[in-house]
Each structure stands twice: as structure tokens, then as C-alpha cells.
């Protein structure tokens, strides 16, 4: 039997807000909310400092409601590029402690520090050094969950480390049940609204209730997902940190847009679908990948009557060429669209594989088309996304110019 591993999950407190405060010391100690343009649909809170949270400000709240709760609240517009840069800087700090670092989200990263005791002391001592180092270099408060696997680390962080003064908590197979079983079921990693409701229906309210059911009964009821949740309730997780790395494991690239206004005409929708497809293919090409499946996502505009769909179809052959993917995207969309106004659209390319081989064709010069795409990508990388664009982006539906200079739909 191998020695138990030691896994850390480091989570940044109010990440976007912390980055803003760190970059502008005058905000120190004030209630701050990072928020999109309040006049537009993106006007919701993306992050709030703990001073703001004390007033009841929560992530996802509309700007107007926040102003009512806390009249002194300082609104800051998001700077996505800055957050990405900071996230990469975080990884650099973590890599000083371990060579097995896996970013889990923009503000959470896993570290496997097994075998590093001689260098940094025990897990708590290491966690403390990490917290100090992050504060020193980036002025962001960091909390660390410790466990014998990624699941325990995540649970330790979300359920305990975030709530205690030190910002450190350790779970192990020994104490997992004692600490987590009394918690409500929705605190269990992997349980969302839907599963919480399902569990309530069978009388499971706490994590311990779930743990005491039989593994087989959960598997019978919810398949693999049920079994995984049962394992989660017991603190069992077989994944490894080096296998969590996102770099080569990407299964797909996708992009979706919340439209600035509701779209209802075919020309407008076509234009945006093409712009999104181009963006998705460009990203796939940047990774030197091709995808096998095209997915289209759409959400209806009417809040009271939520409509929409997400459909996918296999491409005739793996591709990352915009004009090979676009006809299928269009076909999928128009096969399923109910003709109601659209609020959001998304396209993704999944089943990614390395682009290493190309079946030659009798009738078209694929290599030439690929070379053309690559050249277009190079031009855009160097001179910006609006330096070379499809003419349709100039039509009323086009969003390219509006979106140029944004990341994830928020100001860069």
C-alpha cells in the first residue's frame, strides 16, 4: 500500500474583487462589487468584497438591487484580461511548491504536495506558506483545503477553510465522516439543485444520510452519477492531480453569446452563428486540434416561458475549418429553432483530437484552405480580431465589433 497522498485546493477569496482592490489601494476596506454595465444585460455582480458581502451583496445580483442594499457600494467594471493574468501568476506561485499543479477554475487550483514534507514541513505548514506567499506577491487572500485526494481537498476548502479564521482545514479518511456527514446534502461536491431535490424525495437531507445508503441502490437509481456521489459522501476519489491538467485533456471548445437585444430574423441569427463558429474554429486551430462533433445551443428570450435547446451532430469528418462546420451549425439550428425570439446563442466543437493527419480529397485542395485559415489567424493574432473579418459582420446582426476587446463577454 502506498503512503496516502496530500492534495491541496487553494481558493481565492472574492477573486475578481480582490484583484481590483489589489490594483487600486484606494478601494481597500470599502464595499466593492465587480459588475458589468448596469444599463445592459450584463449588469450583474460577478464578485463582491467581504465588506460588500456584509451588506448582503451576492454574486449574480442585479446592479439596481445592490445599490438599494448598500448605497455606498463602489461598482467596478470587470477587467478579464487582468484576472487571467493573475490566475497564471497564481499557478507560478504554486509551482514553487509542487510540480503537480492543476488549475481547476480561474480562482481555484489543485496541488499535489505528497513527498514534499522535507522541503516545506507538514501539510498545514505548507498551506500556511502558500497563503503567505500569495498575499505577499498578489495581495489576495487565499484559503486552502487539505485532503488525501482532490475531493477531500475541495470539500475541506468549500465547507470549512472558507469559513474559519486561518483559512486552512484538513480532511482525511479518518475524520471525513465526523466533519462532513452532519452537513446538509447540497454541500456535497457534485450535488446541485436537481440532485438535492431528488435526495429530499428519498429522505436524504444530510451527507451522512446518503453515506448510509447502499452503493448498489444509488447505482441502480442514478447510474454512475449516483455511485460517484456515494463515493463522494465517503470521501473516496480515484482521480490524480497530474490527470486533471486541462492542457491536453480538452474535449471541446465552445463559445456562447448573450445577445445585446433579442434576435428574431434569420439574417441576424446567421451572422452571429457564423461569427461564433469562426471564433470556435479559430480557438480549435490555435490548439492545433480538429473536432468531430458540432453543437448548437440556443435560449429563448421569454423569461416566463423558458425555451431553447442544445443539439449536436457528428461532422462528416474531423475539422476546424469555419466553412466546413458552419453549414452543419446552421442545419442544426434551423431544424430545432421554434421561431421565437432568441436571447442567447452558442456553438461548440467537441470530440477534439490532435490535427496530425489529413485524408487527401480528389476534389478540393484542403491543404490550401487550411493554409488560408492559418494565415487569417496569424493576421488576427497580430493586428486584432477586427483587422480581417467576414463582410456579414457589418450587417445589423453582427456583434464582432462590439465584442472585440472583451473576454468571456466582459471588458478585458
Amino acid at each position: 500500500m502506498k503512503n496516502p497522498r496530500t492534495i491541496l485546493l487553494a481558493d481565492m477569496e472574492s477573486f475578481y474583487a480582490s484583484v481590483e482592490v489589489a490594483g487600486n489601494p484606494s478601494l481597500q476596506g470599502k464595499p466593492v462589487a465587480v459588475c458589468g454595465d448596469p444599463k445592459r444585460r450584463h449588469g450583474i455582480v460577478l464578485a463582491a468584497t467581504k465588506e460588500a458581502k456584509a451588506f448582503g451583496i451576492k454574486t449574480g445580483m442585479a446592479a439596481g438591487e445592490c445599490a438599494r442594499l448598500c448605497p455606498d457600494l463602489v461598482f467596478v467594471r470587470p477587467h478579464m484580461q487582468e484576472y487571467i493574468k493573475t490566475s497564471l501568476a497564481l499557478t507560478e506561485v504554486f509551482e514553487k511548491f509542487s510540480d503537480r499543479v492543476a488549475p481547476y477554475s480561474i480562482d481555484e487550483q489543485f496541488l499535489d504536495i505528497s513527498g514534499c514534507e522535507k522541503l516545506f514541513g507538514n501539510a498545514e505548514q505548507t498551506a500556511l506558506q502558500i497563503i503567505e506567499k500569495i498575499w505577499e506577491t498578489l495581495q489576495i487572500r487565499c484559503r486552502v483545503g487539505i485532503g488525501e485526494n482532490p475531493l477531500q481537498a475541495k470539500m475541506a476548502c468549500d465547507c470549512f477553510a472558507k469559513k474559519n479564521e486561518r483559512g486552512i482545514f484538513r480532511l482525511s479518511h479518518k475524520n471525513y465522516a465526523e466533519h462532513t456527514w452532519p452537513l446538509p446534502i447540497r454541500k456535497l461536491f457534485g450535488v446541485g439543485n436537481r440532485m438535492e431535490r431528488n435526495f429530499f424525495n428519498i429522505g436524504v437531507r444530510a451527507i451522512g444520510d446518503l453515506a448510509l445508503l447502499s452503493r448498489e441502490s444509488l447505482k441502480a437509481r442514478w447510474g454512475i452519477n449516483g455511485e460517484v456521489l456515494w463515493l463522494n459522501a465517503h470521501g473516496i476519489d480515484y482521480s490524480k492531480i497530474n490527470s486533471l491538467g486541462p492542457k491536453d485533456q480538452r474535449k471541446g471548445v465552445g463559445h456562447s453569446i448573450t445577445l445585446p437585444r433579442d434576435y428574431r430574423h434569420r439574417e441576424e441569427i446567421d451572422t452571429v452563428l457564423l461569427e461564433i463558429t469562426e471564433e470556435v474554429c479559430r480557438r480549435a486551430r490555435a490548439l492545433n486540434k480538429v473536432g468531430r462533433v458540432a453543437n448548437v445551443y440556443c435560449r429563448g428570450a421569454d423569461f416566463d416561458l423558458p425555451t431553447g435547446f442544445s443539439r449536436q451532430k457528428r461532422l462528416p469528418e474531423p475539422t476546424a475549418m469555419t466553412m466546413e462546420m458552419y453549414p452543419l451549425v446552421q442545419k442544426l439550428f434551423y431544424e430545432h429553432w421554434d421561431l421565437r425570439p432568441i436571447r442567447a446563442l452558442g456553438v461548440s466543437l467537441t470530440g477534439l483530437m490532435d490535427f496530425r493527419k489529413l485524408q487527401l480529397s480528389l476534389l478540393e485542395d484542403k491543404e490550401k484552405k487550411i493554409a488560408l485559415s492559418r494565415t487569417m489567424d496569424l493576421i488576427r493574432d497580430r493586428f486584432g480580431i477586427v483587422s480581417l473579418f467576414r463582410l456579414s459582420s457589418l450587417t445589423p446582426g453582427g456583434l464582432l465589433f462590439e465584442r472585440a476587446g472583451k473576454i468571456g463577454g466582459h471588458e478585458a
Partner: protein, 384 residues
């Protein structure tokens, strides 16, 4: 309508006609079989608007004439009926169809066939251009090319198989391609009087279904056609196919005049070797690597599971050695499986040029020329 028939005979007919039932259709009426009892013959028809099949049965007792549409389920019922005879009686008022066999009785709801598309009338097509084949000949033509047809919705023309007769060549061409490989079968054809040169694009799916029905025998096959329809008569069956009107490029001349390497290998051993390689060939392209030196053809394949290598002694060789060529193993096997010589003749044109399989029997007593072209896969190694 009221008939009594032998169950096995009836089932045989339905199992053929069933091939023309649509898989998905916006027209529910096409989901059934049209039954037509006339004075001295009984007809069963199905039609998916691309392919229609009409079967005639006369070895049965017709008590009362009439016609009705019966649901698809009837085939399953027929298969499981207990007795060797089946009696079918339809009430023209209620369209209720009573099916009895032994002590078993089914009562199905029939459908009024008024809206059912009409099957092209014999009077109409009997004056069209007609080609004659034996079923053996015809089946052979189909098998030699159908596997290469495209399944890709975005290339409608290539979902068709081209049948072409040129004015002065006395040669019938059958050609299919999915743009990555191409099969071309040329057969001497004695032009009957009244047959003008033609160029027909027949849906690949139709010919694939027909090839499953016709037998390797001396039965006669007659093909009648005009601008947008093809009628094939075989035994007691009539197949009616829509012809495609998509533009189809002239691809008969894609075969290069010269080649850098020519080899002869044992077909059976080559098939087995490639099959073994496909166990480890990777990805949807099923890529294998071939190398040819003075004595051997060497094959290798690799996937995340591991690698395989094998070599096969050449029967003969002309031209240069071949360093390395990457090919889709499926394309390779598709041809070899439809190939009936002990020794296969394969030509190469360097590592990124087309690879050609050849069967030249133009001097035999049943002269034909069969060629198959496969384009290789380009990889990082040969500069993508």
C-alpha cells in the same frame, strides 16, 4: 379484398418489399404496404419516394379483389403466424383487415390508400430505353462500386453511383466515389438497337438495397430508364428509383498514366494482414503505414494501445522502393474484399500520390477493367 396464400411465399415477398419502407418520413402514409388484389395477381408495394418496390404474386387464391394499405407491423405478424397458410380479408366499409392462420387471428386497422403515390405504370416505362443483363452480371457491377459511394449529406451528388455509356466506346462505366477514394468498373457492352449514350446518377442507397435482393444467377434483369426515373425488373419484382439530377464531374480520367512502384501480392494474405493492422490502427481514419522494399511490403499501425508490425513477401515488383505511405485501412479492405483474383496488382505514386488497385481482364472472355483509386493521408511527417 380477400385472399388465401402460402405464408412462406408471402413472407418472402414482404421481406424484399420492406426494403423500400422509409426509415423516417413526414408522410405517415408511406409507413405501410399497399396491397392490391386483382383478378389473377396480387401486388405488394412500398415506396420511400427514392426507391419503390412492387412485387407480384400469382401462386395464391384470390377470392375477392380490392386494395388497402396495411401497417408495417404486418411483416412481424406474418413471420410468426402458426400455420403454413394465411388468410387475409378486408372489410371495404371499415377497412378492418382480418388475418387468420391456424387458430390465430389478428384484426388490423387498414388505411385508405387514396393518397398513396402511384407506382409508375408499365405502359409508361415499357417504351423507355432498355438494357439487358443477367442478374449475375448486374450484381457484379453493383458490388464492384457501391462500397465507395459517399454517405455524406453535404455532398449530394456523391451519394449517387454513375452509370455511363459513351457513344463509340461500347463500354459501360460504373463509378462511385466519396472524394477520398474512387471505384471504376468498365465492362464491354454490346449496344442494342435503340440504346443511345447515357449518363445516369442512381442513388447509392437504392443500388445497395437492390444488391441485397438479387441473386448471383442467370435470371434476366431489365433496366428501363428515362430522364429522372430508373425501373429495374427482376423476377417478380419491379424496382423504381429516382435518378439524381446533381451535377457530377467527369472523373474517369483521374487515374495517373504512370506509377513509381508496382507490386503484386497474395490477396488473401494481404487482407488478413491489413485486418490485423486495423486492430491497432488509430482514430476514425484507421490509419496504417505501408513500406515497400525489394522483397517485402511492410505494414505498421499504432494507437494509444501500442504498435503492430508485419511484413508480407511480394510476388513481384517493378519500380522504386516506397519509403512510407499512410492510408485508411478501411479503404484498402473495401476493395480487396470485392476482388476475386488470387494476386492483387497495386500501384503507388510516391508517398502522397494516389494508390491504385488494378484488375485488367480486357483480354478475357468476359472482358472488363476494374480500377480503384485511394488517396493517402498526409501527416506531419510529409509536411502538412
Amino acid at each position: 379484398m380477400h385472399i388465401i396464400a402460402k405464408k412462406d411465399l408471402l413472407f418472402e415477398v414482404f421481406s424484399v418489399v420492406q426494403r423500400a419502407l422509409p426509415v423516417r418520413t413526414p408522410m405517415p402514409i408511406l409507413k405501410g404496404f399497399l396491397l392490391e388484389a386483382k383478378k389473377d395477381e396480387f401486388l405488394v408495394i412500398a415506396n420511400n419516394l427514392e426507391l419503390g418496390i412492387r412485387a407480384k404474386l400469382d401462386d395464391l387464391k384470390i377470392i375477392k379483389t380490392g386494395h388497402v394499405l396495411i401497417q408495417e407491423k404486418f411483416v412481424d405478424i406474418l413471420r410468426q403466424l402458426p400455420d403454413q397458410y394465411v388468410e387475409i380479408e378486408m372489410d371495404p366499409e371499415s377497412l378492418r383487415i382480418e388475418i387468420s392462420s391456424g387458430k390465430s387471428n389478428f384484426s388490423l386497422y387498414g388505411i385508405d390508400p387514396d393518397e398513396y403515390p402511384a407506382f409508375t405504370d408499365e405502359k409508361k416505362w415499357s417504351s423507355w430505353t432498355c438494357l439487358h443483363f443477367t442478374s449475375k452480371e448486374f450484381l457484379n457491377i453493383l458490388k464492384k462500386v457501391t462500397f465507395a459511394v459517399s454517405q455524406d449529406e453535404s455532398k449530394p451528388a456523391f451519394k449517387g453511383i454513375l452509370l455511363e455509356l459513351l457513344a463509340d466506346e461500347k463500354i459501360l462505366y460504373a463509378l462511385a466515389t466519396d472524394t477520398y477514394r474512387l471505384a471504376l468498373y468498365e465492362k464491354e457492352y454490346i449496344i442494342e438497337s435503340g440504346v443511345k449514350p447515357f449518363r445516369l446518377l442512381v442513388p447509392g442507397k437504392v443500388l445497395i438495397e437492390i444488391a441485397k435482393v438479387i441473386e448471383d444467377s442467370g435470371d434476366e434483369i431489365k433496366c428501363y430508364f428515362e430522364e429522372n426515373e430508373l425501373i429495374i425488373c427482376y423476377k417478380n419484382f419491379i424496382f423504381s428509383s429516382r435518378l439524381l439530377s446533381d451535377r457530377y464531374p467527369d472523373l474517369k480520367n483521374v487515374f495517373p498514366a504512370s506509377q513509381s512502384t508496382t507490386i503484386w501480392v497474395n490477396t488473401e494474405m494481404m487482407i488478413k494482414m491489413v485486418q490485423r493492422a486495423t486492430l491497432l490502427s488509430s482514430g476514425p481514419s484507421q490509419m496504417i503505414t505501408l513500406r515497400i522494399d525489394d522483397e517485402f511490403i511492410k505494414i505498421s499501425a499504432a494507437s494509444e494501445l501500442g504498435i503492430m508490425n508485419e511484413e508480407l513477401l511480394l510476388e513481384n515488383k517493378k519500380g522504386e522502393n516506397l519509403d512510407e505511405i499512410f492510408l485508411n485501412a478501411k479503404y484498402f479492405l473495401d476493395f480487396l474484399r470485392n476482388f476475386d483474383d488470387d494476386v492483387a496488382h497495386i500501384e503507388f505514386n510516391g508517398s502522397v500520390g494516389p494508390c491504385i488497385f488494378l484488375q485488367d481482364k480486357r483480354k478475357g472472355d468476359n472482358p472488363f477493367l476494374y480500377r480503384y483509386l485511394v488517396l493517402p493521408i498526409k501527416t506531419e511527417k510529409n509536411v502538412l
